[in-house]
Symmetry: C2
Subunit: 121 residues, 2 copies
């Protein structure tokens, strides 16, 4: 059988929209999604699940109601479920998201930045 | 509150044992583990879960009964549950594993390469 690696840079090159996650793999009922970010995202939370950010390229800042974290390439962070957060990227950054299948990017907040779900690249 | 990024290189520098995963984070009931590999691991499978490898540094080859995949830095692969596999690294490589809490590195195979579980770094 033919087994193929999933290459983050190759997959990231296949789309340009920011704040619009693309699924690249599934593990049990979880999905691995690539996303690009630039500028401000919206305040939101995911009431039912933790969410992981892994930084592939660039820098992502995540603001919380009581603090902030700066994530650089080669770093990860777990957003605990129910914790409000607002991602921000001064320059274009590329990230890997890991979360259960079905999670919407804007959580319960909705709005125009809500991306279609379960789009593969 | 103080929020801190988890840096893969910094965490990898804190241990030297090969084939001995160290937990760095939890997301719901899943764990993120760093591991180093060099030489041959054993044939094994995980009958109840998929398992994800993300390559942080170096090259990891994973042999299957009917094929092989070569994973380089910036690449990932999902081992489907129940599929026998044997990791091999010609030179020292550094990887990130993602799998449910409680998964043992040698699966059902056991043996001297079985690492203690749930060791954090």
């Amino acid at each position: 059988m033919k087994y193929e690696a999933i290459n983050f840079k190759e997959k990231h090159a296949l789309f340009s929209e920011v704040w619009s996650p693309r699924v690249i793999a599934e593990m049990n009922d979880y999905q691995f999604k690539l996303a690009k970010g630039e500028g401000e995202f919206v305040w939101h939370d995911h009431p039912d699940t933790d969410e992981v950010f892994v930084i592939i390229e660039g820098t992502l800042e995540i603001e919380f109601r009581d603090g902030k974290v700066t994530l650089n390439e080669g770093e990860m962070f777990v957003i605990p479920k129910g914790v409000e957060h607002k991602p921000y990227a001064k320059k274009l950054c590329k990230v890997l998201l890991i979360e259960p299948k079905g999670v919407v990017n804007t959580g319960d907040s909705g709005g125009e930045l809500t991306a279609k779900n379960d789009i593969w690249v």
